[in-house]
């Protein structure tokens, strides 16, 4: 599914958070929105998702322009946002329709792919942060979204769980070929995962630069190329102190 942003701006009570963003995303591409805090990355993502319809400009999803929530988009939030009164299984089936049996089979399949087989009956309070976030990922994937929006999905996790879940995301992407827009402030994450990194900067945030990463996956987290890319990104953010 393709996605296009044309001259998207968002103003909150007179203060512009992000302005004149243009972006074309090809089907199956992984795009990273990178920037320091307050440059409007999440604002942009909420506009794409339809959760925030108050933006200016046009967002076109698969050829149609609308400000509604699309049923083909999935959203993974910064926090797991599981419904605490539902078990893991019911949380994953939350967005599905159809017969109970079908829903559950589907949910179990996805729970398996995030490595949580056998934890269906637990409640969110019994999960660790990493497990809860994996349930949230399963919940977003189970509806087979053609566009997957991620808002700093791993930022609250420890370094090891983070890497594990990044690899999981790539597995899922390989399997279902979703288009992914990932908001992050973690440069390593962006260079490891994305086909293209869009750097936002300033207040109001504007697109500063786009960097295409051609390296084949799986990428080596410690490779020289990624290190070069990192310093290039740091430079464009004016954060490289040398």
């Amino acid at each position: 599914m393709s996605l296009a942003l044309r001259d998207v701006s968002r103003t909150f009570n007179g203060t512009t958070a992000v302005q004149n963003v243009n972006l074309e995303v090809k089907p199956g591409e992984i795009i990273g929105l990178l920037g320091t805090s307050g440059c409007g990355k999440s604002t942009l993502l909420r506009a794409i998702s339809g959760l925030d319809p108050e933006y200016d400009g046009e967002i076109e999803i698969n050829g149609t322009v609308s400000k509604e929530i699309h049923d083909t988009t999935g959203f993974i939030f910064q926090e797991p946002r599981l419904l605490p009164w539902l078990s893991v299984l019911d949380n994953v089936t939350f967005g599905l329709t159809g017969s109970r049996k079908d829903k559950e089979n589907r949910a179990i399949e996805y729970l398996e792919s995030v490595g949580l087989r056998g934890k269906e009956k637990l409640y969110p309070r019994e999960l660790s942060g990493g497990m809860a976030q994996r349930v949230a990922i399963a919940r977003a994937l189970v509806t087979s979204p053609e566009i997957l929006l991620l808002d700093e999905p791993f930022s609250a996790l420890d370094a090891f769980t983070k890497m594990q879940l990044q690899d999981l995301l790539l597995d899922v992407w390989k399997k279902y070929q979703s288009t992914i827009v990932l908001v992050t402030h973690d440069i390593d994450e962006a260079t490891y995962l994305c086909d293209r990194v869009v750097i936002l900067r300033g207040q109001p945030g504007e697109v500063e630069k786009e960097i295409t990463i051609e390296q084949e996956r799986p990428r080596d987290r410690g490779s020289e190329e990624l290190a070069h890319l990192k310093s290039e990104i740091l430079e464009s953010l004016d954060l490289n102190k040398q």
Binding site: E79, R81, R125, G129
Partner: protein, 284 residues
């Protein structure tokens, strides 16, 4: 959600309950129940023994404060001649009917005010104003309007129950996490589905708190209602005991109030535990 994040470092927070074996956990529950009952009864039992000794020794005059054994005898004799059941039944009946009416009214109005901004602007200020009237002040008016029969008593209890339930429902609905509502929206739920699948379950805890404090007030108001004029009921026994200068009748009635009140609260507590087992609460 914040709790979940705090658990990050803890890794697996709790082993699955099945892992420990059902039998062991049931036994453990039983043990802890016995222990709770034992710990809780030490001080009351001691006090009752001291009271009994003081009465028997004649330190307090028995026409002022009868011994616990006299009170128990009184209850038993009332149970034997059958009058006890009538009093207990009619009082419980009044509380339950008043409770149901008050709760239903609170649910209807509370959800309206919670969901619709317009309804809040229309109704809430008025309800808040009514709330600041001490509910007992309505008594003379209700008697004037509805007579001294069951209707005025039940109405009074319903009024007492209404306010805590209403306030808790409204604050429960208004306090639902916006983030969870966004999850629902992301899955394309319409307003009705949002209410059913997210807002109602999320406001359930606060609703149950309201029900429990409403029930407590219901018991308070039944006493007031029965004091003002009744021919049967535990409140009537209080007046009757006073007129006959029989403190054991008054004390027996008080004790019965305590027992039934506790039982009804315990039933609600069971409902609460059942429906809120998912909550992440402090366990001491």
């Amino acid at each position: 959600m914040a709790e979940q994040q705090n658990n990050v470092t803890a890794g697996y927070v709790k082993p699955a309950p099945e892992a420990r074996g059902k039998k062991a956990s049931i036994k453990k529950k039983k043990d802890s129940l016995v222990k709770t009952v034992f710990m809780g009864s030490i001080i009351p039992v001691l006090l009752i023994i001291i009271w009994e000794i003081l009465c028997r020794a004649g330190v307090v005059p028995s026409n002022q404060l009868p011994a616990p054994s006299t009170i128990v005898e009184k209850i038993i004799s009332m149970a034997q001649d059958g009058s006890l059941w009538g009093h207990v039944w009619i009082t419980t009946y009044r509380v339950l009917v008043g409770f149901v009416i008050g709760t239903v009214a609170a649910i209807v109005l509370g959800s309206f005010v919670g969901f619709y901004k317009k309804a809040e602007q229309l109704f809430d200020p008025m309800i808040q104003a009514f709330r600041s009237i001490p509910s007992l002040a309505w008594v003379p008016l209700f008697i004037l309007w509805l007579g001294i029969g069951e209707t005025s008593k039940v109405t009074m209890i319903a009024v007492g129950v209404f306010f805590p339930v209403y306030l808790n429902i409204v604050s429960g609905i208004l306090g639902v996490d916006r983030k969870l509502i966004e999850v629902g929206k992301m899955y394309g739920l319409n307003t009705l589905q949002l209410v059913k699948r997210i807002i109602l379950p999320a406001s359930l805890p606060s609703f149950l708190v309201g029900m429990r404090s409403g029930l407590g007030l219901g018991w308070m108001f039944v006493v007031a209602a029965e004091l003002m004029g009744a021919s049967q009921g535990l409140g009537f026994l209080l007046v009757f005991g006073q007129n006959m200068s029989s403190p054991e009748t008054i004390l027996a009635s008080i004790i019965l109030f305590a027992i039934i009140g506790k039982i009804t609260d315990w039933i609600l507590k069971l409902v609460e535990d059942r429906s809120l087992h998912w909550q992440d609460r402090l366990e001491k």
